[in-house]
């Protein structure tokens, strides 16, 4: 899939605060009509990046380009709209809130009402139009906040962890509605989030931010399966990273990169049972079992390194009877063990195919 030309591009962006660099993004392009997710842990600099992109804070160095040319903060704000982490609504009715941005843009009241009403309807909160905003639940408030931004028909929508304060069912519903809304508007979107599932669900492209540094960027499918370094692997949900020497012992000398594994792909099995060639078996030692409700988290150790695996809940007898230090096997499909830092498409993964 070739990306459309960049609507917004960050070039050489550096943000310093309190004498240290909190953001360093050599280059990040946000293609028009596509959603780009920036994934990172808390404190990685995601909000700072989003605010630089929206010209809401000034960068220490670097340039923000709009349609290929350097842009003033005013020009950027004219085409963008943001939804911040907490829905910051005015002390007014839902309808007045939804019209806020349109009024800032001097859209006549009648048209503002119509456009805001349309988005309140699409996001399922039209029935609350006359309610005072402070009476809304967190989910409703975030919907109003989204309607307020989308009503502007922005070319660039900035989404700062819009789901982080919501409970799981509310989040799931809003994720679906937001995905549909993004498809319908054709706006470019920048979503910053710590949740890889949200990022994967909404984004065409994905970038990974770690400790202020942009570490990796590319199409979602590519980034998802090809972490460029161990930090990116962890942010992408690979909770075990085995160094190259360990990987070689498991897979043979053809391995040139560390291996990243997701615990949900790794099944705990009794030690010493032979498997067919499509599976990979790693011999380890059991450390602990943690019941997680629907599954059991198995914490094993391999050469002093933690290896996480999954078992059914409640733990089967063979597993429940094991003691810490007993041998255990961890089994996964070969293709699920991902090389860390391999070039894409990965030409040097013979051992994995």
């Amino acid at each position: 899939m070739s990306s459309p030309p960049a609507l917004l591009e960050l070039r050489g962006i550096v943000v310093d605060a309190g004498g240290r660099s909190i953001l360093d993004v050599p280059q990040l392009a946000l293609p028009a009509e596509r959603t780009t997710a920036v994934l990172g842990a808390n404190g990685a600099g995601k909000t700072t990046l989003l605010r630089v992109a929206g010209a809401l804070i000034r960068q220490t160095a670097g340039e923000v380009m709009l349609d290929g040319a350097p842009a003033t903060p005013t020009a950027i704000r004219r085409v963008s709209a943001a939804v911040l982490q907490r829905p910051l609504l005015r002390r007014a009715s839902v309808r007045d809130n939804a019209e806020t941005g349109l009024r800032f843009h001097r859209v006549p009241r009648a048209e503002a009402r119509r456009r805001a009403g349309e988005w309140l309807e699409r996001l399922g909160v039209a029935h609350l139009a006359t309610s005072p905003a402070h009476t809304l639940s967190a989910g409703e408030a975030q919907r109003v906040s989204l309607a307020r931004a989308l009503a502007l028909s922005p070319r660039l929508l900035l989404l700062d962890e819009p789901f982080s304060n919501l409970d799981a069912p509310t989040r799931g519903e809003l994720l679906v509605d937001l995905g549909e809304a993004l498809d319908a508007t054709g706006a470019a979107a920048l979503l910053v989030t710590h949740d890889r599932h949200e990022a994967a669900a909404l984004a065409d492209r994905m970038a990974i931010l770690h400790a202020g540094d942009l570490r990796q960027e590319g199409p979602t499918a590519e980034v998802w399966g090809h972490p460029s370094d161990p930090d990116c692997a962890r942010i992408l949900g690979y909770d075990t990273v085995l160094e190259t020497d360990v990987a070689r012992r498991i897979l043979g000398n053809g391995v040139a990169h560390p291996l990243a594994l997701r615990s949900e792909d790794c099944a705990a099995a009794p030690a010493g049972i032979q498997m067919d060639g499509s599976s990979l078996t790693i011999d380890a030692e059991l450390r602990r079992l943690i019941p997680l409700g629907s599954t059991t988290r198995v914490i094993a150790e391999l050469d002093g390194r933690r290896l996480l695996a999954t078992a059914p809940a409640p733990a089967p007898d063979w597993l429940a009877n094991l003691q810490p230090g007993d041998p255990i096997a961890v089994r996964l499909e070969r293709a699920r063990a991902r090389p860390v830092g391999a070039p894409f498409p990965a030409a040097d993964e013979p051992a994995l195919s």
Binding site: R91, T100, L152
Partner: protein, 231 residues
């Protein structure tokens, strides 16, 4: 007890007999204090915004100074204004001493720190990201400041009420810079002081009651504006 009943009677008479002098005093009190309140708000709100949102060296020192100004004795303000407006003072050429304008200046100087201090606290109560969010929806810097002020309208109106209260109840500065000249600079507070010193307690209490009634009516209007849409 008699003095209180006499006072109530006098107040009733003064209000409903259409006594020209009384209404002149009431009118002047209102004109001076409301004008001073408007000026105090016009100066105090931007100052409060600067203190709340500004990032400059000495901001906290300035805030502490404003907080001191909130408790400044009116007599000291009166003294400063008198010295400034004195014939040989720096603003003596304006020839303002012993005029209602001088009283407005003094009362505005008393009210402005109150408005600024309460405004700064009120504006800082609003989530700092609120302003960012408004800008992220297309508001200019100035427009986003206004949006924050509108969001803080309840405490800001409280600031106006505090400013008006300080202005209308103030007597020391009004006496000093106004001179309590009958028909020119006599207001309710200075008239009440004068009548008390003359031994006309009933009339003084009546003036006091009228002052209270006036303050109540102005604050009622402001409170109704503040609490609009609430039971």
């Amino acid at each position: 007890m008699d003095v209180i009943w006499d006072a109530l009677g006098d107040a009733f008479n003064l209000l409903f007999s259409g006594d020209h002098e009384t209404f002149e005093i009431i009118g002047l009190s209102l004109r001076i204090s409301l004008t001073a309140t408007v000026i105090a708000f016009a100066l105090g709100l931007p100052l409060g915004m600067l203190l709340a949102f500004g990032r400059f060296r000495g901001r906290r020192l300035a805030l502490a100074t404003v907080h001191t100004g909130m408790g400044m004795p009116p007599v000291v303000v009166g003294l400063i204004v008198t010295v400034m407006l004195w014939r040989s003072g720096p603003l003596g050429g304006l020839d303002m001493l012993y005029t209602p304008s001088a009283m407005i200046v003094a009362q505005a100087a008393i009210g402005a720190p109150l408005v600024a201090g309460i405004s700064a606290a009120a504006l800082q109560q609003i989530d700092p990201d609120f302003r960012v969010q408004m800008q992220a929806l297309g508001a200019s810097r100035l427009r986003s400041l206004w949006a924050v002020a509108v969001e803080a309208r309840l405490p800001l109106l409280a600031a106006v009420m505090a400013g008006f209260g300080a202005a209308v109840s103030e007597v020391g500065a009004a006496m000093m810079v106004g001179g309590n000249i009958a028909g020119e600079t006599r207001v309710l507070t200075t008239a009440a002081v004068l009548e008390t010193s003359k031994g006309n307690l009933a009339l003084a209490v009546a003036l006091g009651l009228i002052l209270l009634l006036l303050a109540f009516m102005v604050n009622l209007v402001l409170t109704l504006a503040q609490q609009r849409g609430r039971p």
